[in-house]
Symmetry: C3
Subunit: 657 residues, 3 copies
């Protein structure tokens, strides 16, 4: 592995244009005091940089960059295209996004542009070209940051131009309209199209909209936003070749399929805001770190934004406890981050984010928050000297994460409400509690390097993907498939004949089971499982037809009473193929994971589940992190570890000792 930067990066978004310039020198002084290496500049500066169409004012920005450079602070320069100025809304109201009810949104917050607006894009690209030309050789420049959190508020627009773009996208995808008819199943409900120009966005309609139309709309919308990034980076690559380009992802973000985005990023960056008041928010956060690492194929990544304490957009915005922010930060480092940045440097005195904490709070430098910011900066500066920077994070278990299954399971008119992200996270959490490090993988990836692969609720799966999973198990891998997997193909057509890839599929053969009928449970209803594995579960039952597998657990009650709930088939090559036909509760999940890990020959760092404590190994160092407000004693990889509240222990990893 190569490190992203010569040392750990530390710093945050810097928005000097919301302050009087007289404060800028003080900013640099404080940055130095906090060991800040990096500032992300210009994210929301479009109106300041281009006060009138085509008139640019870059002098102030140059001053800022000069000052930062003089102070030893490197700059990630934003292209400033995330929030167009008021004059664009006034001159070109057609650039404003339209919601599915037909309402055109107004100016006055941010991100008020249709992703398919040619006018917006033209202005944006001109600005990028000007910025790259002016600042491409500035000595402070470390990387480019296109736009900001693509799609965080507007990830699709129902305006006419977007509909035209959708039609063009469909025509490119399907070639002939009858291929669209086939894919969308328009033979039902009299939905057949005779030309692409009859197709509309899936706007508000009388009843359930066509599922494949909805899916294609999400694919198109993700692509349309990615096209904006790609258009910006094409200019940056042309003018400043070699300067890395990134944009900030938002973790498990439903509206952009980051697997398709990642190849266009030189640096994978992420924004993550775990709720300090939520005792399990570190689980979601850990998964997000692992996703970022996985998106980059294992490369180090950059935490672009986090808050040093509270945010401002929850109903009740808890402050972080002393040490909690450090625990969050080391979680990122342990899971592959080479830099820890924040939103934002100095807390706003006005505007919509003034109640969002920052590295320099309203109270100034003599505050708990800023003292912790300073201490953390020092710590990272020291950590740069070790082996962690740039190092990989080994993982022997993978979870398949598939955006299209997320989109499909979130549609109207499904068998039941399955929260895909939550379902994946429950598998992840059970492994996390045992100290097992996870990679995420896209559907269809080469998984042969993993000892175990988990496929939770991947409702959408092509036959080829299903075949590959089957081959993985037949070749000796430990495959675990959860309910509602391989039910539909990539057009959302049912795999007829027992689901799991359909009648006679290699996946049915590998698992040794087929599914005859779904029998979702009602909300709050639990079912009891007995057999080699026993315990309580919820959400789902179904009728599993066991052809060639061992029944590990049986449903005791409900519609599927007496039927198999968990099965395992040993494969010839020494592998195993598990099928799990329900949603285990936490206790049952732990028992199941213990068996799966044993099956896969994966050693758990924690012999017993350790709620609130996590561990990972990076660069020869084992990190053990306590995310609770109480001291914890754990045995990690055979070693006794005492942890303070929100404490972080680092010691040589067992393999590295």
């Amino acid at each position: 592995m190569t490190s992203l930067f010569p040392s750990f990066r530390y710093g945050g978004d810097y928005n000097p244009d919301q302050w009087d310039p007289s404060i800028w020198d003080d900013d640099v002084r404080l940055m130095q005091g906090a060991s800040v290496t990096t500032a992300t500049v210009g994210v929301f500066s479009w109106a300041r940089l281009e006060p009138q169409p085509g008139q640019y004012d870059f002098a102030w920005l140059e001053t800022v960059l000069d000052k930062l450079h003089a102070g030893g602070v490197r700059v990630i320069l934003a292209t400033a295209t995330a929030s167009p100025p008021a004059w664009m809304a006034k001159l070109h109201p057609e650039t404003l996004p339209v919601d599915e009810h037909g309402t055109r949104l107004g100016f006055g917050s941010r991100q008020q542009y249709s992703p398919s607006s040619a006018t917006y894009l033209e202005y944006a690209l001109k600005l990028v070209r000007e910025l790259a030309t002016r600042f491409g050789k500035h000595p402070a420049l470390e990387a480019w940051h296109t736009n900001n959190e693509y799609g965080c508020h507007i990830s699709a627009s129902y305006d006419d131009e977007s509909v035209e773009a959708f039609r063009a996208w469909l025509e490119k995808r399907y070639g002939a309209v009858d291929e669209l008819n086939r894919a969308w199943g328009t033979g039902f409900w009299s939905q057949r199209y005779f030309s692409f120009d009859e197709v509309d966005a899936p706007r508000q309609a009388p009843s359930f909209r066509n599922p494949t139309q909805l899916l294609d709309w999400r694919r198109f919308s993700s692509d349309a936003m990615l096209a904006l990034h790609r258009a910006e980076r094409a200019i940056l690559d042309e003018i400043t070749p070699g300067v890395p380009v990134t944009t900030n992802f938002m973790g498990f973000f439903a509206n952009a399929d980051y697997w398709t985005w990642a190849p266009y990023m030189d640096i994978i960056s992420d924004d993550e805001y775990p709720d300090p008041a939520d005792p399990v928010s570190h689980i979601h956060a850990a998964a997000t770190r692992d996703l970022m690492r996985s998106l980059g194929g294992g490369k180090p990544w950059l935490l672009m934004e986090q808050s040093p304490s509270a945010v401002n957009w929850r109903d009740r915005n808890a402050a972080k406890a002393p040490g909690q922010h450090r625990a969050h930060s080391f979680q990122s480092v342990a899971r592959g981050a080479d830099g820890i940045l924040h939103f934002q440097w100095r807390q706003s005195a006005s505007g919509a984010e003034k109640f969002h904490a920052a590295m320099v709070p309203h109270g100034g430098e003599n505050t708990r928050v800023h003292r912790e910011v300073q201490a953390l900066g020092r710590e990272f500066a020291e950590l740069s000297a070790g082996n962690v920077l740039g190092a990989a994070v080994p993982a022997s278990v993978a979870i398949v994460f598939d955006w299209e299954s997320w989109w499909a399971l979130g549609q109207e008119a499904t068998p039941t409400r399955v929260d895909y992200e939550q379902t994946v996270l429950e598998w992840y959490a059970a492994l996390l509690r045992r100290g097992v490090t996870i990679d995420f993988a896209p559907a269809g990836a080469d998984l042969s390097a993993y000892r175990a692969v988990i496929v939770p609720a991947q409702q959408v799966m092509s036959t080829g993907e299903a075949d590959a999973l089957a081959a993985y198990a037949e070749n000796g891998g430990c495959l675990v498939v959860g309910y509602q997997s391989a039910v539909l193909d990539r057009d959302l057509h049912v795999h007829l004949g027992g689901y799991l890839g359909g009648a006679g599929s290699a996946l049915q053969a590998a698992l040794g089971v087929a599914i005859e009928e779904f029998a979702p449970l009602q909300a709050e209803v639990t079912t009891w499982l007995s057999g080699a594995l026993a315990g309580s579960a919820g959400v789902w039952q179904e009728h599993v037809v066991v052809a060639d597998a061992q029944t590990v657990a049986t449903f005791d009650d409900g519609h599927a009473a007496g039927g198999a709930a968990v099965t395992r088939r040993a494969t010839a090559a020494g592998g195993a193929a598990w099928y799990v036909a329900t949603q285990p509760d936490e206790t049952l999940f732990d028992a199941l994971i213990r068996r799966v890990l044993r099956d896969a020959g994966v050693a758990a760092a924690f012999a017993h589940p350790e709620p609130g404590v996590e561990t990972a190994v990076r660069g020869g160092t084992r990190f053990v992190i306590n995310h609770t407000g109480e001291p914890r004693s754990v045995v990690a990889a055979g070693r006794d570890v005492e942890l303070e509240p929100f404490g972080v222990a680092m010691f040589p990893a067992e393999g590295a000792e």
Copy 2:
């Protein structure tokens, strides 16, 4: 009685146009194996039948009908007008419906037409004429099915054409605008109109909209949809006289007053989808069956749609337990159905309803669901030989069901939230638990044939209707009137002076009471009643002024403490007039019903309440049905009956023995 058909009908919606024609022969084979007699064809075929405006393609449909006929399957042919093609939305966007906020809905689901669109209607009627001409003499044709579930998604539209139609409807109803002013009470809130063209639809407005305008809008919308049916059937009657015409009702459907629709149906058809996971869904279903029989004046009716297992539109779509579908089906037969059809024959592989169960599931013929479908088909084929087919279902108790009271009680700005349908169902359920069969009757019907008549919460009642109820009691009937009855006349003007028809009304005289003041209870608050009838109640209290009645129960607490809660007046002709000023809980309801039945001389089939078990007599056979998943032992009409889970017992009725 005459049976609708020469034998029990069994089958379902058949949508061959969503499949490759290569599968059609297999469909017929499987239909024969399942004893299918009838297929409903073409419900969603408009785009296939008329791929371009005025260009018709009927050959494929003829092939389908020929194959069905050759296989011995009769056809209910849909007019295919339920879901206009994409070209209509593109060429005539003004046909798309508009919601009350002004949003024009898009293409991509179904039923996307304004009920008042002349353009839609013109295309629809041309299609009907073509279909009738082409297939009117096809030997497979058994009946016509206009459109589909009128109003299930769009039962009103706020587009300009609809507003014009509303004005014309109002002008026809009121003649002069000042008669509208009188009826709507526009003297208040400065709402007086000076010409009909000032009147608008009751779209989104600053505050409570005019109640009578809202009522007229619902009347108009129901009429507008009915007009579509009538226009289609006029053509069918012209071209294929003698072929029966139907459309599928949706049970207790709020947006169409089926009493006004029923006269235009040769066959009353219904779609009903009881929730398998809801332990009391059979009550609503039973009431729906009785409503359908009552809409036809006691004639047999046709269950046009049900699901053999799960549906796809609930949050969590439970599968039916083994036998449960049979119990649902026999409930329909016992309550007057001469045919049992399903949505749909073969489960979709794509589209919005692919997760809705069907007679041939995704798993194919070798599945639990299909085996139950086959067994049920055989059973109905055998049942055709008995006396049940075509037979009447005797009932000695009627409940008045009034759509306009439903509409009025559901308005804004009422004394309290009264769920009219639920209120009616609680009366119904108390009778069902005792095995008493109910007819529903419209307001103003001749009720002299019934031993008891129940009038729950009929807020809207004309003086004539109130007089007729009074006469019913005075002539010896047992009349039971619930609170919030006869409060308003048909213009929604208050019957001043004690409600119940107003000061000095015959209804006040018959009941011997008047109402001085309403005193609704808060949510979750109960009140205790004591006296000859004692127990707990909720929802409502009021000040009953007892002039000439026996107080059967008195409120113990609350605003009306010490006042009458239930009264009874014996009439000269041996009848009785009850007034019930609150909403009894289940136990009190059972005690009340016991007294009412005794009063009316009605024998209950169950001496004690039997939750989950129902009974009805048809054609000399008593049906006893267990809707629970446990075995039940009951005494029905003096006979010991053992029932399996979801079991159905049939034996000669007591009168028929």
Copy 3:
């Protein structure tokens, strides 16, 4: 003090135009029987008064006024502009309001006009001029009543004309657009404006809208409505000088800053509808009475509307218990009302408010409600002879109530959900339980006359206002400041450096504390306080930096564990400055209030909290009112008082004995 009228006023809204004229004489007879002195006429009569644009029909109204005058009933004449006729919607659809989603609302309810519509205003002012000219010298005329409940349904409109008016308002406020940029903090999120015509209303937008834009929109909308009143009264003042002008306020109404409205009222009028089923609704009602008195600077005020029993706009509209309406009415009198009017005189037989109780109910004169109305009229007629009429209500404690803090705390993206009105009411309730009478005061008022001043959650406070509070304490007053006060200035910019007016502020000095960091609690989470004051609290914690104050209570747990929760600083002049950094529960509130009252030297009428019982002194009479349905024995100002359910005791006040 001067009384508003020569005797107590008693009566209600009279809408004769919804009835046949034949009933009018009976109305006068019944009014006389109920001791009615006053009728408010014409509130919703525009369509009747101006049936076509510019054609006026005033004869019927003259007849009504003549009849009332002959019957001895005085008239408050409405300008009838609250509900424009249908012809205006038809001829001038641009007068109809538009919501923030862009939907133009329809005719058919009431108040369907944009507050900034010039066309609406032109018609309204012509009508006012005509009415004033015609009836200005009518002997029945007692006062003018402009419009009705300004803003109750529509307090802002997003139509083009309103946006233009908003821009003009902003230009007037800010002069230069860069001053707007400074105030709104548009340096963030690229929101900078280059001309006023780029500014829009804060309509539906992608994300959080600019906070100061939102605040200015509310200021503008309040001003726009007030401008309508002022335009009407300018005409009335011109034509009928000396006739008092009022409009009916709606208590704590969020959308109009009544402090800015009050100077334009000759009589402060209020509409108040406490929920009879809510056991604490009398607290909100009492606060509303005190607010009305305070708005008039202590002058008597007029209760313009209340219901004698149920309303019709709640989900469940409870009737008032016998005596409860009298208790409500005497609460108003005790707190400064010189008249008690109702909505409405005769209960509507049709229309949207027919289920709203009235002085003459549906049941007529021989009803409980009407008998209570008659008795209350007699009682007020007798009370006119005493010292109460026109007398002041002394209060030694003030609560600062600030509409802009209400608006700011109700915005998106705040530290937590703080319900400003509820927070104020909890302080008010704790004082009410002890029988302490409260004045409300606007921010910046001269408070020197009060012994104690409470400032709960005044998030928005100018430096000048903060200085004045500090001076109040330093000069010997007892100041109590709650959390989230003085956080922002009037542009919603943060007071940097410890909040409470900012670093080095006089307020920080007076309180002896500053705030380092907020730490809001999660919903349902409580925190325990210990120290001189101990108990339980919720909603809020923060880090209080105590510089020069006594810590009265300390947080035992949570983020701020060990930090100060309540502080008190004694000032040199014998005053005290309290700071309360959390939301006490009821028990802790009572303990805190006991200390504060002792500190301030304020005697509580009740030695112990008396839930459900209140007291106030007016004109030498102490009123003690029981708002519960049970008898109560209390000691009020040292005197034993026995109260019936909903009973009212009146006796000479201690000072007056």
